[in-house]
């Protein structure tokens, strides 16, 4: 296997009296998409800045494409990295095309590529207008176009879908999938959990600078051991009479809450009924997994504090 594109070992970052990140480990392979989740102040942006080389680590190491991102040698590889910051407001007086041409030139590209990118994100029709006339969604598209300059090998996107309408969000994820297929690695930071799951390979959940959980969604789900919701239709009262099924029945959600390892048994049992009209199988959503790890963390904390006292 090729060496990882991003390699983070025991990474820590402390500001004056605040620990922003603590012993983070991460290996990101080429073409891999990592979702970085956590509430505000969890350390997501700090981690991005460390990978970008804008900040230097207080402890541990970061390597991007084999180089330390805050070193001078890494400058040239910076044109292969795209970044979309959170809450960036571009030069309002300039037109969209002027803004993108400026950033493209700084990466060694020209106006033509800038126009292509604006077409790609769907704001080419507004490129001659000043950015101050843009809606929030258009600004976000401009920001994305900026991050896509030069077909980056590594993309770091901080809240990329904020302010985007559903169609633009779908377009965005289509672009993510396309970039992924060409071998780009992507780190995606988001608060908006629904819709992200089909597009990420792995997820990392951060809280107060620590990793709460990391792995593929399937791994996280099995670690969280959250039940799968199975909704059979047309069985009427049979569910409650069935010895295999009635133990899983949950009245409030009107479905069967089944642990991962019992899924097939329950499904087979349901299918054995001839009058089964329809069946919905829903794995625990990313949102539920996220909440599970966050609440588990806060549930652990008071007891550990109690031990200290």
């Amino acid at each position: 296997m090729a060496s990882p594109l991003v390699s983070v070992e025991m990474l820590g970052k402390t500001y004056k009296n605040l620990t922003a990140l603590k012993s983070i480990n991460l290996q990101l392979a080429e073409g891999e998409v990592l979702g970085l989740f956590g509430h505000n102040g969890a350390g997501k942006t700090t981690m991005m800045k460390l990978i970008l080389g804008v900040l230097s680590p207080s402890s541990g190491t970061v390597e991007v494409m084999g180089l330390k991102p805050d070193s001078k040698e890494a400058w040239h590889s910076r044109s292969k990295i795209g970044y979309l910051p959170e809450n960036v407001s571009f030069y309002d007086q300039l037109t969209g095309l002027e803004v993108l041409t400026y950033f493209a030139k700084l990466k060694g590209y020209n106006k033509k590529q800038a126009i292509n990118l604006l077409e790609q994100v769907g704001i080419a029709n507004a490129m001659k207008r000043q950015v101050k006339t843009y809606s929030k969604g258009m600004r976000q598209r401009l920001g994305l176009a900026q991050a896509f300059i030069g077909e980056p090998k590594l993309l770091l996107l901080d809240e990329p879908t904020v302010g985007l309408d559903p169609i633009a969000t779908a377009d965005f994820y289509a672009t993510v999938d396309q970039l992924k297929s060409t071998g780009s690695s992507i780190i995606l930071c988001s608060h908006i959990l629904p819709g992200v799951e089909q597009h990420i390979d792995r997820a990392m959940i951060l809280s107060s600078g620590k990793v709460l959980a990391m792995g593929t969604l399937a791994q996280l789900r099995s670690e969280a051991n959250l039940p799968i919701a199975i909704k059979p239709r047309g069985l009427n009262g049979s569910v409650l009479e069935d010895a295999t099924l009635n133990g899983f029945f949950c009245k409030t959600s009107n479905s069967l809450q089944v642990p991962e390892d019992k899924k097939m048994t329950v499904l087979k049992q349901c299918l054995s009924y001839e009058h089964l009209a329809d069946i919905d199988v829903e794995s625990a959503s990313l949102e539920k997994v996220y909440h599970y790890f966050l609440t588990r963390d806060s549930a652990v904390k008071p007891s550990s504090r109690g031990n200290v006292l």
């Binding site: 800045k49 970008l52 080389g53 804008v54 900040l55 400058w75 040239h76 910076r78 044109s79 990295i81 970044y83 910051p85 959170e86 809450n87 960036v88 407001s89 571009f90 030069y91 007086q93 400026y102 950033f103 030139k105 700084l106 990466k107 060694g108 900026q146």
Partner: protein, 272 residues
């Protein structure tokens, strides 16, 4: 080098777009033509004043205006981008901090330099049309070059301000205080020293103190060559100093390079 030029081009176009270029040129040309024609009004005559009177009055006005304009143009060039988030973004690009500072300096400096050249150049042409004395261009080139250096010096100083604070409003306040200090307070303090100290300070001591203020260096460069009747105050003492005009120019140049280098150092250590 390409990176520097890209940034410089953007800043220069911004200067044109914001009408900085037009306004500064307009202010300078109105000022210089006005002073050229009516500078002698104080002595009871209307008409074109002598070259030395004109340059003396231009210099004493420019010394207030140029620093103010330079600070106004540039005080938010870094803190403004920091607030909007583009500074952080630029730092993830393959451009170094010194390239960014130099690019901005070349772009905004060109606006100031070009506006100064055009605005005051008009005055030189008007005077030449009247007197047809080539010495006019000599005197005016000294004036214009030193005025440009003064503008560049305060552009560099405003970068220092812009990089030292994290809010635009603070930068604006600091810029105003900086202007007030160099344009007014410094000279008042010098006068107080001259009058207040019993033995007085030596001419050399005074000259050395004046090196601490680019605005004073600018005055000295321009007034050194003129009739002493047009020069008064603390300056008159320093005018007859031992330094040549070339040396004063070098000092003014140092006042461009030093704050600019310091700005780069501050930028390198700045946390974003």
């Amino acid at each position: 080098m390409n990176q520097i030029l890209t940034v410089a081009e953007k800043e220069f176009k911004d200067g044109l777009r914001n009408r900085w270029m037009v306004s500064i040129t307009l202010i300078f040309s109105v000022l210089s033509i006005g002073l050229t024609y009516f500078g002698a009004a104080a002595s009871g005559t209307v008409g074109i004043a002598s070259i030395s009177t004109t340059v003396a009055s231009l210099a004493s006005l420019a010394v207030f205006l140029i620093p103010l304009i330079a600070l106004l143009v540039s005080f938010d060039s870094f803190v403004g981008e920091q607030e909007s988030g583009t500074l952080l973004l630029l730092l993830t690009y393959p451009i170094s901090k010194s390239q960014l500072v130099l690019g901005k300096f070349i772009g905004q400096g060109s606006i100031i330099a070009l506006a100064t050249l055009l605005g005051f150049g008009i005055s030189a042409i008007v005077l030449y049309a009247e007197f047809e004395n080539p010495a006019i261009f000599n005197t005016f080139s000294t004036f214009i070059v030193s005025a440009i250096l003064l503008g560049l010096s305060f552009t560099a100083i405003s970068y220092l301000i812009s990089l030292s604070v994290s809010e635009k409003s603070k930068a604006a306040g600091l810029a105003l205080i900086t202007w007030f200090f160099f344009a007014l307070v410094f000279d008042l303090a010098l006068l107080a020293l001259l009058v207040g100290i019993e033995d007085g300070i030596s001419q050399q001591g005074l000259t050395q103190l004046m090196m601490l203020n680019p605005a004073d260096i600018f005055r000295l460069v321009n007034l050194a060559g003129l009739d002493s009747t047009d020069v008064n105050g603390a300056l008159a003492v320093a005018v007859n100093s031992s330094l040549t005009q070339g040396q004063w120019f070098m000092l003014l140049g140092a006042w461009v390079i030093m704050p600019l280098s310091l700005a780069i150092v501050i930028f390198r250590n700045k946390k974003l």
